[in-house]
Amino acid sequence: MTAQATNITAAPSLVRRLRIRVPLLVAFGLAWLGLMVFTAVFADLIRPYDVTQMDLSARLVGPLSPGHLLGTDELGRDVLSRLIQSIRVSLAIAFGATLLSAFFGTTLGFLAAQFRGVVEHLILVLADFQAALPFLILSLAVLAFFGSSMVLLVGLMGFYGWERYARISRGLAISAGAQGYASAVVQLGAKPSRVYLRHILPNVASTLIVSMTLTFPEIILMESGLSFLGLGVQPPESSLGNMVGFGREYLTRAPWIMLGPAFVIMMTTLSISLVGDWLRDKLDPTIR
């Protein structure tokens, strides 16, 4: 957001260039994501009411009414305020989990590339296992039996999609070893950790970032699905999914409780897909 603002004042020609380079839909996606990040960061400042503040005299007030832009829910809590807080919670979970899964998967991929043999087979068997159970089913079992907590939820979501990073980083690391620059550093006496972190990682980073744009929306959908089923984020904390889940009971009388968060989920995943596709075309060396 700030980078764009300075661009406008500093160099108008840059704006024109950006407009040509960035398709309209992608620009829209970027703007929406900017808005979401802004909302998540400044949630406490822009929230008109407290999330748990009830007003029993104003229950199920419709949207666009004075004081409650998006209406209120069954306890008279302001839907907009809850939506803002939910955006923060859902984005924080998805962001943490994406980083975790990228870290975990890339590490395993590099380990497989470095040691080959038994380690590689073990990691492949783990990936098979992950593929054999739909992730939602796996998480349902784990969450319901350990009880749902924020830490467990982020940790669990952090297992989502690790096999994708593992596969990519293993493949890229093996081909990097064959390209000569990695073996050249090994010949110079570098330790494996240095080879992987300083030489191979920067070369495969763009591909990994592109896969993060694939994982991120999927994690948002997974978390909201779990929360919708009542097994993800627990009240009084709210997330986009559990707002839809609770709003479902008031579907006929107060559909706005559910439509707001549903709209935000859709727009966010849509924006990330659009931006991710565009980034893939720009960054990914494997499809060039």
Partner: protein, 309 residues
């Protein structure tokens, strides 16, 4: 060829064994089923009797061996709620879930692949752009939002279709529609890109240059080659179908295995959850095996490679 299938089969068995172990470890280590089922205020002697009855006092490895042995005899234990065999509870729910997932898969294949292929053959046309946009929307809408919106429109506002239950074929329409949308989007997008890639290959140019009709080029040269990546994605979709069934059955109160899973998970009915995990994992593994075998049939290169060994 035989070698290829044997390796696949071995890995499939290994995967199922892993899932069994996972289910056992997670479910047993996570809490004490005796105090959950009998309540925190239950007298100690009835808790002790319960633990002895279900073998909960043995060391874990002993419980595990007993577990493996009973599964080998197709005995998945007894539901802790109503004492009926877990496998029966699960199997009696399977037809209801199949009644949703099979039509869904057929619709996804029947709509998604033709749409994607048509879009690929008419690139940059209005139809192509339409297919791309619709498919992106299709897989960014979460199934629970789709389901609730459909209920809001067709059941609440228009009153055309029932919103939940399983009394007539009309009850299945909204759940099947909800589940189909995402898969159609994925398949359309995937078959479009597979087809575009194939159409750019030199052998297509050759086929056209030698004067084959457009239809022959598409049906005999392009489609068979594009089918390999499409089959791969269909294998993956079986998993999302089952996961989708969990959400959709819970929205539309459809008495299938998805709802059974959620109910037994919240009741901590260990035997039923373990049985469900195994049934679902087996279904997935079998689906993936079918995909692997389909490769063998679809891809002559694989046959040739296997014959050379």
């Amino acid at each position: 060829m035989l070698n290829y299938f044997v390796t696949r089969l071995f890995r499939a068995v290994l995967t199922i064994l892993l899932v069994m172990t996972f289910a056992f470890v997670v479910l047993r280590l996570s809490g004490d089923p005796a105090s959950i089922l009998l309540g925190p205020d239950a007298p100690t002697d009835s808790i002790a009797a319960f633990r002895a009855r279900w073998g909960l006092d043995d060391p874990l490895w002993k419980q595990y061996l007993a577990y493996l042995k009973s599964i080998a005899q197709l005995d998945f234990g007894v539901s802790m709620r109503d004492r009926s065999p877990a496998i029966d509870l699960v199997l009696e729910r399977v037809p209801a879930t199949l009644a949703l997932t099979v039509p869904t898969l057929l619709i996804q294949l029947g709509v998604g692949i033709p749409a994607g292929v048509y879009a690929a053959l008419h690139r940059e046309s209005v139809a192509d752009r339409g297919v791309i946009m619709l498919s992106i929307f299709g897989f960014t809408i979460p199934s629970f939002v789709m389901g609730l919106v459909l209920v809001l429109v067709f059941a609440v506002t228009l009153g055309w279709l029932p919103s939940g239950g399983q009394d007539s074929w009309q009850h299945a329409i909204l759940p099947i529609a909800t589940m189909s949308v995402g898969g159609i989007g994925i398949l359309a997008r995937f078959s479009r890109s597979a087809m575009i890639e194939v159409m750019g290959q030199p052998y297509i140019r050759t086929a056209m240059a030698k004067g084959l009709s457009w239809r022959d080029v598409v049906w005999k040269h392009a489609l068979p080659n594009a089918s390999v990546p499409i089959v791969t994605i269909v294998g993956f979709m079986v998993g999302s179908l089952i996961a989708g069934a969990v959400v959709v059955e819970s929205i539309f109160s459809w008495p299938g295995i998805g709802r059974l899973l959620i109910v037994s998970v919240s009741n901590r009915d260990l035997a039923v959850v373990q049985c469900l995990l195994l049934v679902i994992a087996s279904a997935m593994v079998i689906a993936n095996l079918c995909v692997d075998f389909a490769y063998g049939l679809l891809d002559p290169r694989l046959r040739a490679k296997a014959a050379a060994h």
